[in-house]
């Protein structure tokens, strides 16, 4: 009765778990950007992803102390974590699909798939960063408490820097030039720089609305091979979605391709008319992973 029971966890291990979990959670926080896309929504969406990121970081942090104590079955938690992150992707996809009917224009399945995959991969960031931090601190335990913590933080940040750069995708602006284009209404037909867009302007109201308040953007790929990605329906849906989500839509939205020149036209009547910001939004629209095609592997 008087015998003191051994500690459940040593101070060293506790420090490793705390520092690694903090680093992993911080990595998730740093990738949880709230930009012009306003997604994830604030504050509930961010809260959900931060908590899931914290759990991912904690799993990565406890793996090393668990192996050290010969508890190899604890590693199976990593497999469980992967399953959990796949569920994150699935729930994200379902959530975005549920919202499709309420948006000005649909995001489209390709864009939703890209967003869901990104959310899944960001949890791996937290897991990897915490795992690297914990491994470093364990390997450098002979250095002393403070130096090993510093080393763990530095290598954890290096891991974060490397994987965040590795997984960084391109944007529409990286593969094309984007500019405002002139709208022209000829009787009941709509043209943007002589490219036919629609003949659905059968009433004077429609003709007046689009000629006075309509806005059009022309996107030209910088290379002929890039047309495959840019002209993809999912990619065009994503561009139109970002444009209409940011500026709203009063009426009409069109995307058209000019096959002879490779130009892609986006035209709509926005609620807020701001050409400069629209160009920036189109430029910053992510280039979807599912539409990428490497011309090198086609030879």
């Amino acid at each position: 009765m008087g015998e003191k029971s051994p500690p459940v966890i040593s101070t060293d291990d506790l420090l490793i778990i705390i520092v690694a979990t903090l680093m992993g959670t911080l990595a998730r926080y740093m990738t949880l950007r709230l930009d012009y896309r306003q997604y994830p929504s604030h504050p509930n969406g961010r809260m959900i992803h931060l908590v899931v990121g914290f759990i991912a970081a904690a799993i990565g942090a406890v793996a090393i102390p668990a192996i050290k104590s010969n508890n190899f079955t604890a590693v199976t938690f990593l497999a469980l974590a992967i399953q959990n992150f796949r569920d994150v992707r699935k729930s994200e996809r379902e959530s975005l699909k549920d919202l499709e009917t309420t948006e000005f224009t649909p995001r489209g399945n390709a864009y939703i798939d890209g967003i869901a995959k990104t959310f899944e991969s960001r949890n791996y960031f937290a897991l990897i960063v915490s795992l690297v931090t914990a491994t470093t601190m364990e390997s450098a335990k002979y250095l002393g408490l403070f130096p090993k913590t510093i080393l763990g933080v530095v290598l954890g940040y290096a891991a974060f820097y490397f994987i965040s750069h590795y997984s960084k995708g391109k944007t529409v602006g990286d593969i094309s030039s984007i500019r405002e284009a002139k709208i022209e209404v000829r009787n009941t037909e709509l043209y943007v720089e002589n490219i036919f867009i629609s003949n659905l302007l059968g009433t004077e109201n429609a003709q007046k609305l689009i000629s006075e308040e309509g806005i059009a953007v022309i996107i030209e790929p910088t290379d002929n091979d890039l047309r495959i990605a840019l002209e993809n329906y999912g990619q065009r849906q994503a561009i139109l979605f970002e444009a209409t989500r940011t500026f709203g839509i009063k009426r009409y939205h069109f995307t058209r391709r000019d096959f002879s020149t490779g130009k892609v036209v986006i035209c709509f009547v926005p609620i807020i008319n701001d050409v400069d910001r629209l160009l920036a939004v189109v430029k910053n629209t992510p280039l979807l992973e599912s539409v990428k095609k490497s011309p090198a592997v086609m030879n």
């Binding site: 649909p106 659905l200 059968g202 069109f254």
Partner: protein
């Protein structure tokens, strides 16, 4: 791709004049106007109610649809 993409698409109605010969209209509703002014007025009224677009054919027939 046009507006109101989350709603049903198709031809909802046609507004014709007396000289138009329409043999069949499927599910679309066909109206015959007295003159050009009435045709335009009816077209706008139906299009507004249905939040639809108007296609003016070169023979003068107005079609109300959502693409």
């Amino acid at each position: 791709m046009s507006s109101e993409s989350n709603k049903a698409t198709g031809i909802f109605a046609a507004v014709a004049l007396s000289h138009h010969k329409i043999s069949g209209s499927g599910n679309a509703f066909v109206l015959e106007a007295r003159d050009l002014d009435e045709q335009n007025q009816l077209t706008i009224e139906i299009a507004k109610a249905l939040k639809a677009d108007v296609l003016k054919l070169s023979n003068g027939l107005n079609i109300i649809l959502r693409a």
